[in-house]
């Protein structure tokens, strides 16, 4: 049976304006026709109502923690990929800080297979840079690359040893992979709970100074210059980090970067009520950092919006701030936060936000043969349909993720995903997951 996405306007990587009204006809896992509104025959077709909506290539998240294997109390690949689909994502890169970590072929294949079984979105496991993310011994890059791993990271930990990082870049350079760094000089963030500044001083909480991130961004840019290897910077959070990446790009270095929805919308003042939901690594920072991250997204210094979706069960977050694990969920609110912060304010167009949510991250993750494609005849049907003007209020009790640690609970946001199509199958219809 065919599926027709009816009455929307297409905004994709080839769009130069506000998008063009068209109906999209899907058969099997492909787009078979793109026709004038109303021109597609609807008999014997499933119709996805897209009136008032944008039709785009599905989103790609470079940074998702699915917690399986090892922490299934907080999330499973099934619940996490359902949350992703509801957020409009058709592909997600699963971070490797599972237990066991994704440093061997068997764990990587397990994650991919669980994703396939859930069938809600394409789950692409990343691999570790070092065994067990311990920062000591390199993970088998070639073995993992041979089974399709393209992003390697020790996320949650930065690779502290500069020699090891140099070797990782040199060894990985010709394997067609990208190393992604969590930039944090650990000696400068011992015991840190929140951004180091006036707020942590007042609250008496140990600070996570901006320089702990910036020193590693700087080091890795220079290692990138030395080795010529590709490098991706995860969750940039400070003004100076954005400046460093901007300069590196101007120098022609093969670097890319991402920012999270929470780092472009929330400040360290959120911790004033001592709620561990707002503890995240890197921490929420200042209005000046937020402004710099937004400028970086607008001018292309930051390529992608990535969620760093990090579910934690209530009982883990209901510990004291020093022991509560850092992280917040983000898959189901990413688009809305981006539209609210970047488009409502007039800073960016919908098209440039979609670039950061879809085709740019697809390219960085090496998924651009199937995701982030133009909405055109013959292309894979990995699509999202969203209403850019729908207003809604986030409620932590209504999330598909197994954990409710959203920092946006109670917030009014604009823009909501209506349908998501994965390989031709409507996995989300009218805001509801079909399985």
């Amino acid at each position: 049976m065919r599926t027709v996405i009816s009455g929307g306007r297409i905004v994709d990587s080839t769009t130069t304006d506000d998008g063009r009204p068209a109906d999209v006809v899907i058969d099997g896992d492909r787009i078979v026709d793109v026709v004038a509104p109303g021109a597609a025959p609807l008999d014997d077709s499933r119709v996805l109502d897209a009136r008032g909506c944008v039709v785009s290539s599905g989103f790609v998240d470079l940074h998702t923690h699915l917690r399986e294997p090892g922490r299934e109390e907080s999330e499973t690949i099934e619940t996490g990929s359902r949350a992703a689909a509801l957020g409009g994502f058709t592909a997600i890169v699963a971070m490797p800080n599972t237990d066991p970590a994704q440093d061997s072929r068997i764990v990587v294949e397990f994650v991919r297979e669980q994703g396939r079984r859930a069938g809600m979105c394409d789950v692409h496991p990343s691999g570790c840079i070092t065994i067990g993310r311990a920062g000591e011994v390199l993970a088998p890059f070639a073995e993992l690359a041979a089974v399709g791993v393209r992003i390697f990271t020790d996320d949650g930990n930065g690779v502290q040893d500069p020699l090891l990082m140099r070797r990782a870049l040199e060894y990985g350079r010709d394997l067609g992979i990208t190393l992604a760094q969590h930039c944090e000089v650990a000696r400068l963030t011992l015991g840190a709970v929140m951004h180091e500044g006036a707020c942590c001083s007042r609250l008496g909480l140990p600070g996570w100074p901006a320089i702990a991130e910036e020193l590693m961004v700087h080091r890795d840019i220079e290692l990138c210059r030395l080795t010529g290897a590709r490098m991706h910077f995860l969750h940039l959070s400070t003004e100076r980090s954005v400046d460093l990446v901007r300069t590196a790009k101007a120098d022609g270095l093969p670097v890319t970067a991402e920012a999270t929805p929470h780092h472009i919308s929330l400040t360290d003042e959120m911790l004033a009520g001592f709620d561990p939901v707002f503890k995240v690594n890197p921490p929420l920072r200042t209005p000046a950092d937020i402004a710099a991250l937004k400028r970086g997204l607008a001018d292309g210094t930051i390529d992608a919006i990535a969620t760093d979706h990090a579910p934690h069960a209530d009982h883990l977050k209901e510990q004291t701030l020093d022991v509560a694990p850092p992280g917040m969920i983000g898959l189901e609110t990413a688009l809305s936060v981006a539209l609210t912060e970047l488009v409502e304010s007039g800073l960016m167009s919908i098209r440039s936000v979609l670039a950061a949510l879809s085709w740019n991250p697809a390219r960085i993750a090496g998924l651009d043969s199937r995701h982030g494609r133009p909405v055109a005849v013959g292309e894979p049907a990995n699509l999202v349909v969203f209403d850019p003007s729908a207003r809604w209020t986030v409620d932590r009790r209504n999330v598909a993720s197994k954990s409710g640690n959203t920092p946006f609970h109670g917030r009014d946001l604009v823009g909501r995903v209506r349908h998501t199509v994965l390989n031709g199958v409507a996995v989300v219809v009218d805001g509801t997951a079909t399985k």
């Binding site: 180091e196 001083s201 609250l203 008496g204 600070g207 510990q319 004291t320 701030l321 022991v323």
Partner: protein
């Protein structure tokens, strides 16, 4: 006032109210039988996640003098490290019927978290580096009574108070700075940059707090010198080279004590590190009120317990 979690929450008017009530409580404590039935049948639980002798005993003495029942719930930090939910602990104890939790924890913010999970009042007996409001209140009470002042907003105007030492890690310094300035005093913080909070603007922006690193420069010109405890473990963090150097720069020795103005008070929240920040024996210093602080602590904590449980002054006088 339902809870006492920070000086900021209490405000200047609240501080004055507690100080006035503390004077009544001090009168009770001077009686031959220092006990009143004000809180009969109410249960006060000390929920101490961090070792403390003097603060816990001071609160429990205060509660008993008001005829409350007291329970102590000591939780070793190890059970927290095992992943025990703070919420479970609080809800369990709360289910036994508790009027007030007196909470101490090594982590900032715990009293706020706890107050979400119980209907009981929460009194902060020290959270991390953040706040220790009853210490600041007993210090205000001590200064007010020693100087013969009447509690009022602005009653400390004209006084200059030096707070000396490890301000960065000190909940006492945060609460005292806020309380002293709320009552009109000027505060001079004396510390090396490594022992200051990363950004002091929350205090200095108000214009009543200045920061210096030379104790000798200020010691002769202040009305109160408030010495903070210097913890040995700070050496491992490269915050100061060694205790000897710290003591030489920031310790109160005989020479510095001799420079104090007539009538200047010397205070310390305890426990003292003799030979480190307190080189001179406080008993040798005429203005030392270190023991008086401890005595006053009971009266002030009685006032706070009474206040959070909604009592009125007439009840105490009965």
């Amino acid at each position: 006032m339902k809870h006492l979690r920070s000086i900021d929450e209490l405000g200047a008017d609240g501080i004055v109210r507690i100080l006035e009530l503390s004077a009544h409580m001090a009168e009770v404590n001077r009686r031959s039988v220092p006990k009143v039935p004000a809180l009969v049948g109410r249960t006060v639980v000390s929920l101490f996640f961090e070792d403390s002798t003097r603060t816990r005993i001071s609160f429990e003495t205060a509660a008993r003098r008001l005829s409350a029942d007291t329970m102590t719930f000591s939780v070793s930090t190890s059970s927290v490290n095992k992943g025990e939910s703070l919420r479970d602990t609080v809800e369990t104890v709360s289910a036994m019927g508790v009027a007030v939790f007196v909470v101490r924890h090594k982590t900032s913010g715990v009293p706020w978290q706890i107050s979400q999970w119980t209907d009981a009042s929460v009194i902060n007996a020290g959270d991390g580096w953040h706040q220790h409001p009853t210490q600041a209140l007993l210090d205000c009470h001590t200064i007010v009574t020693e100087r013969g002042l009447t509690p009022a907003v602005g009653c400390l105007a004209g006084l200059r108070i030096a707070i000396v030492g490890d301000v960065k890690h000190s909940r006492v310094a945060r609460s005292c700075t806020e309380a002293f300035t709320a009552l009109g005093a000027r505060v001079v913080i004396v510390a090396p940059a490594t022992l200051l909070p990363p950004d002091s603007s929350p205090w200095t922006d108000g214009g009543n707090v200045e920061i210096v690193d030379d104790l000798d420069e200020v010691i002769g010109g202040v009305d109160v010198v408030y010495m903070l405890r210097m913890q040995r473990e700070r050496m491992a963090e490269a915050l100061v080279p060694n205790l000897g150097e710290y003591s030489t720069r920031f310790g109160l020795d005989r020479r510095r004590a001799g420079k104090l103005r007539d009538g200047a008070l010397v205070m310390h929240p305890g426990p003292m590190n003799r030979g480190v920040e307190m080189v001179v024996d406080p008993l040798e210093v005429p203005g030392s009120v270190v023991t008086t602080q401890v005595t006053n602590g009971v009266s002030v904590r009685m006032a706070v317990l009474f206040d959070v449980l909604g009592g009125s002054e007439t009840e105490v006088s009965r």
